[in-house]
Symmetry: C2
Subunit: 354 residues, 2 copies
């Protein structure tokens, strides 16, 4: 398929690197294509970033048939543009598609479309270390129909925004709050897919956490409310003695690409890693006995996010001395060096763009 390109008349201006936040500085163009049962995915185009016009009966508004991805493009010191494991994101998009009865996309084709879009928008990619261009591919159901069924038409978009450094003042530990009353996902449900409704379901607990001064919610499993699952939009790792422990993928946890990368690096470095159930009781015990050395989250937005405090009912666990631990730092350094092209891409994770 040929991608039609319509350029904006007047290019926008990217905010200064130090003014960049997250999720608001959209670039000039977006990639769009349509799906219908008879034509499949068709009419791929790059066009000015602009409002979408949909029937108020469009199924996405009513039944949430919507999936998305989140990844980043980085600028190297040599001003090259590169992606980190981008195919894995489109693989996961297709997994989510299967989970939500949405037609899959051709990964080679959307990788090409993304690269073409990035070439056009390369001036929107900031250069300061820690800044990047956030990439949001997503698919929404568009049938103007109020019955509950899978849609026959969809729209696929890739929108982009320049984002600031997550840790403006250096890697800082966050405080997280364990939700005992709210549940994010359940085996047999859609927790392992990146679908809109999972995030809506997390808002209430998120507000409760925030009101108490915690940045993120640590979710427990739905069935026994004992085992740690993930935190906000990150997977979670514990360093117990010298072992790295992270919840195994049970079907209710998002299979994070940063999570896989951490596990791969740990194995390469000869660090013991265990993907298994880990209960809050075990976390409390390990903390009490001084064996819980570090806790950190992993995700595209922050890469690695050290956890300095966990609130679990009336227990408050302080982890470390207020500074990021050496294990978290080591992963952060290794991953960001590969992402920003300052270290060799030994794992074949980098996809060059320009």
């Amino acid at each position: 398929m040929e991608i039609a390109v319509t350029r904006v008349g007047q290019a926008g201006t990217r905010p200064k690197d130090e003014d960049l936040g997250f999720g608001t500085a959209f670039t000039d163009h977006m990639f769009v294509m349509d799906y219908s049962t008879d034509k499949g995915w068709h009419d791929p185009r790059i066009e000015p970033f602009a409002p979408v016009t949909l029937s108020p009966a469009a199924m996405v508004f009513h039944y949430g048939q919507a999936i998305f991805e989140g990844l980043k493009a980085y600028k190297t010191p040599e001003k090259k543009v590169q992606l980190f494991r981008a195919r894995d994101n489109f693989d996961r998009l297709n997994r989510s598609a299967r989970g939500l009865c949405i037609p899959e996309v051709d990964i080679d084709f959307v990788m090409d479309a993304l690269k073409q879009l990035l070439k056009l928008e390369k001036d929107w990619i900031p250069e300061t270390l820690g800044t990047s261009l956030y990439i949001r591919p997503f698919i929404i159901a568009t049938d103007p129909f109020l019955g509950v069924r899978s849609s026959f038409t969809f729209k696929f978009f890739i929108i982009l925004c320049s984002v600031g450094a997550y840790y403006a003042g250096g890697l800082a530990p966050v405080k997280i709050w364990v939700s005992k009353d709210h549940v994010r996902a359940v085996p047999g449900g859609v927790g392992e897919f990146k679908t809109a409704g999972n995030y809506a379901a997390s808002l209430n607990a998120g507000e409760i956490a925030k009101k108490q001064g915690y940045a993120q919610v640590l979710w427990l499993d739905a069935l026994e409310r004992k085992y740690v699952e993930e935190v906000g939009a990150m997977n979670i790792f514990f360093v117990i003695d010298d072992e790295l422990v992270t919840p195994n993928l049970t079907g209710s946890i998002l299979p994070g690409i940063t999570r896989f990368s951490v596990i791969d690096l740990a194995k390469k470095w000869g660090m013991p890693v265990s993907e298994r159930k880990i209960s809050m009781d075990e976390v409390l015990d390990a903390h009490a006995s001084g064996r819980l050395k570090e806790v950190f989250g992993s995700g595209t937005a922050a890469v690695i996010s050290p956890v300095g405090e966990i609130c679990y009912g009336d227990r408050v666990l302080h982890i470390g001395d207020g500074n990021p631990g050496p294990v978290a730092m080591k992963f952060y350094q290794a991953l960001t060096s590969i992402q920003y092209g300052t270290a060799k891409d030994t794992e074949n994770w980098i996809e060059p763009v320009v």
Copy 2:
């Protein structure tokens, strides 16, 4: 607040009653209002039914912060227009709003807005018995922002569509399929709210059911996968001996307004009713011993939907003789007579419009 009214230039034409399906014959106008944190709900207006224009970054597309309701307006033989328990729908909308961090609406105000809209659209309400005007109030999150949090802006809509008789050829029993692998909702989750993501989460099981010739999915509880919850977009009732049994509201079941109405009528009629856990094993046993007299669903769309067959793994239960049972028929008659104004509204469920 004053409701601004903009009328269409050229009114559309309602399809013939016998050509009406569900969810596609939208009327000429809709009600819309906006929310922002500083202004609250504002700018209420009735305007031509037309596409909505939203940023592709609007939060509803990404994080599914969206809730809805479904109710109907009926035309009586005297050509009066009336609503059935409409306030209960807006009460439930506000419950859903609290569950999804969405600002509540003023029920008196939206009831007035709905009536004003219905007066304008009264010619869209078909007259044949069984036909009606379906009313879909809904709220969507509109902030153009990619971070996960509750939106600061929302849009509330009421859209309307003329719908045909659910049972064109008389009340016909449906076949339902018990999902063993997929789970709709879990205690601590959002299953008791009418939020978009719950319906997305139900699509995969729905397609599996359909492929096997079943109309709807019967959901089991998430924790033990033993207890019956609800079916498709209906609550479920079993007639065992002479008792009416329906799952109690555990937090993962939608509190259906038709369900409450059935329970109220049963109590009034002196029929024993029990809201309690009911397992598939109990259903199998009651069927085997001949004590399971009837099964039926309750919901706004079909009012009462007799169930003629339940598929549970390799067991297929046939219920009744292929015709709707007397209990289902009695509720169907009683409820529809009140809704269409052919019986006295002894329960004070009717809200007259014009």
